[in-house]
């Protein structure tokens, strides 16, 4: 009996550890929001200025490629009136391809930058978002891009 409990407990521990692995690495200068404070399949971090960085995974349905979803997202937000700062910047998150967009947004009397990024795998899409007043955004931009490259889709 003892010999059976050992491997099962080990497997359970491995599974538990796997489920605790973050979707993304914490951007430098950010504080991670505890996993039990955010919904499942989500990662959240916050900067001292209150800039929020969120990554979540969704089902890739209908199953499509990065190119398809990038075009769908860009077309939709542009139709809604979002002002794109670029055509989209491709990046690699492990073995999965990703695309990041930055949008210039008026918010109150301030100018904000809204980052939206997607990483697409066969079954899932990871969606990353971050937004802040532009001076704060540019302070953390490199850290955010580094974190995007660390996104792991489970």
């Amino acid at each position: 009996m003892k010999t059976r409990i050992g491997p099962i407990a080990f497997a359970a521990a491995v599974l538990a550890l796997a489920s605790c692995t973050s979707l993304a690495q914490k951007p430098e200068g950010f504080a991670e929001v505890s996993p039990w404070q955010v919904a499942a399949a989500q990662y959240k971090a916050v900067s001292p200025e209150g800039m929020i960085y969120r990554v979540r995974t969704l089902k890739n349905y209908p199953v499509q490629t990065l190119e398809f979803w990038s075009n769908a997202l860009k077309n939709h937000l542009e139709k809604e009136g979002y002002r794109s700062l670029s055509e989209g910047q491709p990046f690699e998150a492990g073995e999965s391809p990703g695309m990041v967009f930055e949008w210039a947004m008026p918010y109150g009397n301030e100018s904000y930058i809204y980052l939206t990024a997607i990483v697409v795998s066969e079954n899932k899409i990871a969606v990353a978002e971050a937004a802040a007043e532009h001076t704060i955004y540019y302070k953390y931009r490199e850290a955010l891009l580094e974190s995007l490259a660390s996104i792991t889709i489970r």
Binding site: Q37, I52, A72, E80, P106, S111, V127
Partner: protein, 198 residues
């Protein structure tokens, strides 16, 4: 050899001047840039306009308006990129002023001809007629001055481009909420994201 260089330099300068003189386009530039230090950006823009041979028209913490020689239009984007975190928008409009200039010039010419004719009539008419002609002359002179003013403005427009550089994203209107056919795309919403907190 030196003489050849001097001659070539003079020829080059003359051709540039000729291009500038032949320009009939008025260039208008509308830009929105985001900068970390607004005051420094305003100073940089004013200095750039001045060094380019232009001049500042208006400045505030939100917008800087200036004129600068049309020959420098090409170098404005690079300068804006240098002083800003990002160039959100840069649009260039060009308007051909030939038709307007020709219209005004012919307007001035025809009024000057009528003016000359009226002045010739003054000597040959009575007091009542003189007063009527004088009134007509005054009217013509006013119109000619107005047209000359418009022509001067167009001449300035030909020589100088007009740039309006916004230092923040203008417009308070929220983007329209249009539903997407793809469910997850509907969850991408800047205002909702910013308002949610953590």
């Amino acid at each position: 050899m030196k003489k050849v260089h001097v001659i070539l330099s003079i020829l080059c300068l003359l051709s540039i001047q000729a291009i500038a003189e032949e320009n009939y386009l008025h260039h208008g530039i509308q830009a929105t840039i985001l900068v970390a230090d607004v005051d420094r950006a305003i100073d940089s823009l004013a200095r750039w306009a001045d060094e380019a041979g232009g001049y500042l028209l208006y400045k505030s913490s939100e917008v800087v308006i200036f004129r600068f020689p049309h020959t420098k239009v090409g170098s404005l984007r690079g300068f804006l990129e240098d002083i800003s975190e990002t160039v959100v928008e840069l649009s260039l409009q060009a308007q051909d002023l030939r038709e307007s200039i020709l219209g005004i010039q012919s307007g001035i010419q025809s009024r000057e001809e009528i003016l000359q004719q009226n002045l010739q009539y003054i000597d040959r008419t009575d007091v009542e007629g003189t007063l009527a002609i004088e009134k007509e002359v005054m009217q013509l002179l006013t119109e000619i001055e107005q047209l000359k003013g418009k022509l001067r403005k167009l001449t300035v427009d030909r020589a100088y481009a007009l740039a309006q550089v916004n230092l923040r994203i203008l417009g308070q209107s929220l983007p329209t909420d249009i539903p997407s056919s793809f469910g997850w795309i509907n969850t991408i919403d800047f205002y909702k994201f910013v308002g949610e907190g953590f």
